[in-house]
């Protein structure tokens, strides 16, 4: 198994009256090469789950094994390396650095991998080409449309060719045509072998995934696999 969650809780303000159980006893297995949609209404705990799965946040209770390793036993440095090399993040709301242009944003994960400046530029340009934005390499995020920024964020996630892609509402802010393009993209990466976690509140989009995990109030209320036709 690539990912194993065992009875994971994420509780904000535990013991207080305002206690929020963003994850309320979640157990989940995800294998290599899957394409999983994590669906659910806003506030159901999807982003919290991605933060835990992406080693950005620590569960309050429960165990998380990534590729067989107990994440709670890893050092901050090891977690940084996992985020850097194993996972490509596409955040809700792009999260590009405003002072850096497109290609510099795409280069970020490569910088922290210690890739040499020339190779870095090549790899970043290649990623931008894949998302069709090579022509905008020198533009700042503020000079691009939402769809273009989202594609820069995708380019950044794939630039280092990580085996896992985690995308939080990647189509949320896009019109349906651009949204379809982004989906097609993730499907292509999955065909090439990447494991994809797609987070969405949109049932139509969730329906295109090979497996759907539905959250409600921090609990898994549905988990099923399906045949898909991605042509």
């Amino acid at each position: 198994m690539l990912i194993t969650l065992k009875d994971v809780y994420k509780i904000y303000g535990e013991g207080l009256e305002s206690e929020v159980r963003a994850l309320d006893g979640v157990s989940l297995d995800i294998d290599y090469g899957e394409f999983v949609a994590i669906a659910g209404q806003s506030g159901s705990g999807k982003s919290t789950m991605m933060n835990v799965l992406g080693c950005l946040d620590i569960p309050t209770y429960g165990d998380y094994f990534l590729a067989g390793k107990d994440v709670s036993e890893l050092s901050d440095k090891q977690l940084s390396h996992i985020r850097n090399k194993q996972i490509g993040f596409i955040f809700q709301g792009y999260n590009l650095i405003a002072s850096l242009n497109a290609v510099e944003n795409v280069e970020l994960p490569l910088i922290y991998q210690g890739v040499s400046p020339f190779d870095r530029r090549d790899m970043a340009m290649e990623a931008l080409e894949r998302v069709g934005l090579a022509g905008r390499a020198k533009h700042l995020p503020s000079e691009m449309s939402g769809g273009q920024q989202q594609r820069v964020a995708i380019a950044r996630a794939i630039a280092a060719h990580p085996p896992i892609i985690m995308a939080d509402e990647p189509t949320g802010a896009l019109d349906s045509k651009t949204g379809q393009e982004v989906l097609g993209f993730l499907q292509q990466l999955n065909r090439e072998g990447s494991t994809i976690l797609l987070i969405t509140h949109d049932n139509g989009i969730a329906a295109t995934a090979k497996r759907i995990v539905r959250l409600s109030d921090g609990r898994i209320i549905e988990d099923h696999a399906q045949e898909v036709d991605w042509t």
């Binding site: 950005l56 946040d57 440095k77 940084s80 390396h81 999260n95 002072s99 970020l108 922290y112």
Partner: protein, 401 residues
């Protein structure tokens, strides 16, 4: 992450906020410029004084001994010094009123600053006064013993009396008595007005031919000591010897002193002053450093989201620390360089105004130290903000607006 990358990032971030970066630097600029001016001025002045002092010959003790019995004070000191291992030379150093003539030239009509001076010395005069012979020969012990009428000229005296003519083996008339020039000393002190190089050195025994001259009993003489460590030892034993001869003033009069003592005292005085002034200026550096810390904290807060993104994408804590440390070190380093440039001007100005146009510049050591100090200041005061930045949890930082 490589350090070069952190440098690029720092340059970019500093240039993105030029005005703010400059204002932050201002504290460092003022601090470094003032500390540098103070320290470099005192240091430069000390060095110049040391040079002037060394030109006159170091490791010297001046002794004066005059005995009521009429015995030669110099002879007593000379004999006594023969028994002291550290004393390597003794010479009288009495100056004598005298008119020097060569051809139509006479020292009486010369301007005071050009006028050659008649000095009575022994064969060790050049050793004691750090002269070297440029032409001809030095005085020798036979000149003294045999009452030879010879003299050796300082470079400037030779120039004044002979111009382009060759002084060797010419006769100078001193108070109407002929003395043959047998040597010329090398130039020692080209700049000073009252030049060491204006001497005309006669064997001290020549007083026999010079009726008006002091017969050498004044006992004014110079003892050359092997090294500076020996000065105090020799000084003490000479003083004790003089006291035993004069019986504390009853049978004569005498003293021994060394310019080096005075020099050391004056040096330590100046160093004290520079420490006090430098300390006051140092406070402005401290204030500047706190300013850096303040601005770096603001920067970290402003860039919390950026830090979150970098951490989420795989930056280690140490990479974040490096990024912000390099940035604050660079602000301080650039401020330091500007401060150093101003400090050069300040030191030069201080030399002109305080020390009668002396041209002073900070030494390379002080310059390097000032730069290293400003960079360390940046690292020191950037440490807390940088560590604070690196301690942010990725999720928390990402969620901030």
């Amino acid at each position: 992450m490589k350090l070069g990358q952190a440098f690029k990032m720092a340059v970019k971030s500093i240039l993105a906020k030029k005005g703010r970066s400059f204002l932050t630097m201002l504290g460092i600029i003022i601090g470094i410029a003032s500390v540098m001016t103070i320290v470099a001025t005192v240091d430069g002045y000390n060095r110049k004084m040391m040079e002037a002092f060394e030109a006159q010959g170091t490791n010297k003790i001046t002794v004066s001994l005059s005995l009521n019995s009429g015995e030669s004070g110099f002879k007593k000191i000379y004999d006594y010094c023969m028994g002291i291992e550290e004393a390597i030379g003794v010479t009288p150093s009495a100056e004598m009123e005298g008119t020097i003539k060569y051809g139509a030239k006479t020292s009486d009509t010369m301007e005071w600053k050009d006028r050659p001076r008649v000095v009575l010395g022994s064969d060790q005069y050049s050793l004691c006064s750090s002269f070297t012979v440029a032409r001809g020969r030095d005085l020798c012990s036979l000149d003294i013993e045999k009452y030879r009428q010879v003299c050796v000229l300082g470079a400037r005296a030779a120039k004044t009396m002979f111009d382009y003519a060759d002084p060797l083996y010419q006769n100078l008339m001193i108070n109407g008595v002929p003395f043959q020039v047998v040597g010329v000393y090398a130039e020692k002190d080209a700049n000073s007005g009252y030049s060491m190089d204006s001497v005309v050195v006669l064997p001290y025994t020549a007083t026999r031919f010079l009726p008006n001259a002091d017969n050498g009993n004044s006992g004014e003489c110079v003892v050359k000591v092997r090294d500076s460590q020996s000065i105090n030892k020799v000084l003490t034993s000479l003083q004790a010897y003089i006291d035993s001869l004069t019986q504390n003033g009853e049978r004569g009069w005498g003293y021994a002193w060394s310019e080096q003592q005075w020099q050391e005292e004056s040096n330590s005085m100046l160093t004290m002053i520079s420490v006090v002034l430098g300390g006051i200026a140092g406070i402005s550096l401290l204030v500047g450093g706190i300013g850096i810390m303040n601005i770096m904290l603001v920067t970290v807060t402003e860039r919390t989201r950026e830090i979150g993104i970098r951490r989420a994408i795989g930056a280690e804590r140490s990479s974040i620390v490096t990024q912000f440390l390099v940035e604050s070190a660079m602000i301080c380093g650039v401020g330091g360089i500007i401060g150093i440039v101003i400090g050069y001007g300040g030191t030069n100005l201080a030399g002109k105004v305080l020390f009668e146009g002396m041209s002073l510049y900070p030494s390379p050591t002080i310059t390097l130290e000032a730069f290293a100090f400003s960079v360390s200041l940046g690292i020191l005061f950037g440490m807390y903000p940088a560590i604070k930045a690196s301690g942010l949890q990725p999720v928390v930082a990402l969620r901030s607006e």
